[in-house]
């Protein structure tokens, strides 16, 4: 299981690449909505896959400000610590 930030981000990009056009370059600052055009329901589905992959639970409240891969990495890292 990925523990450090770099590995977590790598895993997130891999999961995310399943939901979007593979030609899009996924970076830390890639915004799910404005850059990738994901609908809110697709973001929620992506988050569910992330929770299952890491066997963590992410509180909806902590997702309210998350827009990018980098921001989600921090949330996932915190949830793994719990």
């Amino acid at each position: 299981m990925e523990k450090n930030t770099k590995d977590i981000e790598q895993a997130l990009r891999k999961i995310l690449s399943g939901s979007v056009d593979s030609s899009v370059d996924l970076a830390s600052e890639t915004d799910f909505v404005s850059d990738l055009g994901l609908e809110s329901i697709q973001v929620l589905e992506f988050i569910m896959e992330v929770e299952e992959h890491f066997d963590i639970a992410i509180d909806l409240e902590s997702l309210s400000d998350v827009r990018t891969v980098g921001e989600l990495t921090k949330v996932v890292a915190a949830a793994i610590q719990d």
Binding site: Q42, L44, M48, A57
Partner: protein, 404 residues
């Protein structure tokens, strides 16, 4: 950087609306010129059969309900002009609460001014900071909003997926005892039901509490019409039942019923209960009359079941893709959203009103037409609906045949 204006956000709203209109008729701007009966209206000057109204028992024009409303209007006036906390409850508010508690055989019930307020008000009172909600991902927006208002931590589990729910509860460890599991009896878009026996088993295993929203199942399932909880024999294990008067009871308002005595204290802790006007006397009166009808006329439930099966079997015979459960909520799925939109529009032109759902409003990202069946539909009306569906999907069938 350009300054952002407060009103800029509506450009995106307008763009979304225009996208809806681009397929033809905007489904969000339908005007019912005149409502004629639970199943008929004049839309665009045309007689139309309604099969998208949630009017499950068809009680909106029931003579006893109408008479009860008229009497209350004459005797008690048009409105209560304030909240129950400040202005006081009218005796019929309390009578309705007693009748609901008796109907569910649970001892306690509380009435709210809308179904939305019932969900917000129940969750806001019940869940606070430090508590946890574990919510089915397909739950209604009012339940999501209730979560937000509650201040508790909120975790979603995959729709009707018991492994996903068990995983959530397992991870909560000590917090499971202060956790509320939130599900619906009958899900309002796809028409599938919650596996409540399995959910109750998990609730027991982890020592959590359970809230079931029976908005679309009150009056439809169970020997007494109490809902899916009764149908599946789990009434004793459900902590809180919430629901609405606006579907099978043909009024407006909502409720929470519970075996827990603390429900009486929700009145002091629920902002959506405290800070809003109470239900109008006429609305409370028609709700009470409809609840009596629901109990006195089990044949309405039988007729509804027969009608649902008639429509479901007919749509299936047309080769349409439906949900697995036969229920009064029948979702007809389409692979392309433009096919759903065109079929919806053709049906409307042919005098059949259904509900169009396209992403992101659909739970699993598909596009669908939702039909809601009523006990008031005649067999002939259902045959007409099926004939119009057959005509409306003709171009799709022709296209599929050409592609083969």
């Amino acid at each position: 950087m350009d300054k952002v204006d407060l009103l800029d956000k509506f450009k995106k709203v307008a763009a979304n609306r225009d996208q809806l209109s681009a397929v033809g008729r905007d489904p969000t701007s339908i005007v019912i010129d005149r409502i004629i009966s639970p199943t008929e209206a004049i839309i665009d000057g045309k007689p139309t059969i309604l099969v998208g109204t949630n009017n499950y028992l068809g009680l909106t024009f029931d003579p006893e309900c109408v008479a009860a409303g008229q009497t209350a209007l004459e005797e008690s006036g048009t409105g209560t002009t304030g909240s129950r906390m400040a202005n006081g409850s009218y005796a019929p508010h309390l009578a309705l609460e007693r009748e609901l508690a008796d109907f569910y055989e649970v001892g306690h019930a509380m009435v709210f001014s809308t179904g939305y307020a019932a969900n917000l008000g129940t969750m806001a009172a019940l869940v606070n900071t430090g508590d946890v909600v574990v919510l089915d991902a397909d739950a209604h927006a009012s339940l999501y909003d209730g979560c937000r208002m509650s201040g508790g931590s909120v975790y979603r589990f995959r729709h009707n997926d018991m492994n996903s729910l068990a995983n959530r509860l397992r991870r909560l460890q000590d917090k499971a005892s202060r956790t509320l599991i939130v599900v619906e009896g009958l899900y309002s878009v796809l028409g599938d039901r919650a596996p409540l026996r399995e959910i109750v088993a998990l609730k027991r295993e982890y020592g959590a509490h359970l809230l079931v929203d029976e908005a679309h199942s009150l009056g439809i399932y169970g020997a007494h019409g109490r809902g899916v909880c009764e149908e599946l024999g789990v009434m004793d294990d459900v902590d809180f039942i919430v629901g609405t008067f606006s579907k099978s009871l043909g009024a407006t308002g909502g409720f929470c019923a519970s075996k827990h005595e603390v429900l009486a204290l929700f009145r002091y802790a629920s902002r959506p209960y405290i800070f809003t006007a109470s239900g109008n006397p006429s609305v409370i009166a028609t709700t009470r009359a409809a609840l009596r009808q629901l109990q006195a006329r089990p044949e309405l439930r039988q007729k509804l079941r027969d009608n649902a099966k008639h429509l479901y079997d007919g749509l299936q015979a047309l080769g349409l893709q439906l949900g697995a459960d036969v229920s009064p909520v029948i979702a007809v799925r389409f692979e392309r959203s433009e096919d759903a939109a065109r079929t919806w529009e053709k049906l409307l032109e042919a005098g059949i009103y259904t509900n169009l759902f396209v992403p992101p409003a659909t739970p699993d990202g598909t596009s669908l037409l939702r039909c809601s069946v009523s006990a008031a539909h005649t067999s002939e009306q259902i045959d007409t609906i099926l004939n119009r569906f057959r005509d409306a999907i003709q171009p799709l069938k022709a296209r599929a045949a050409n592609a083969d």
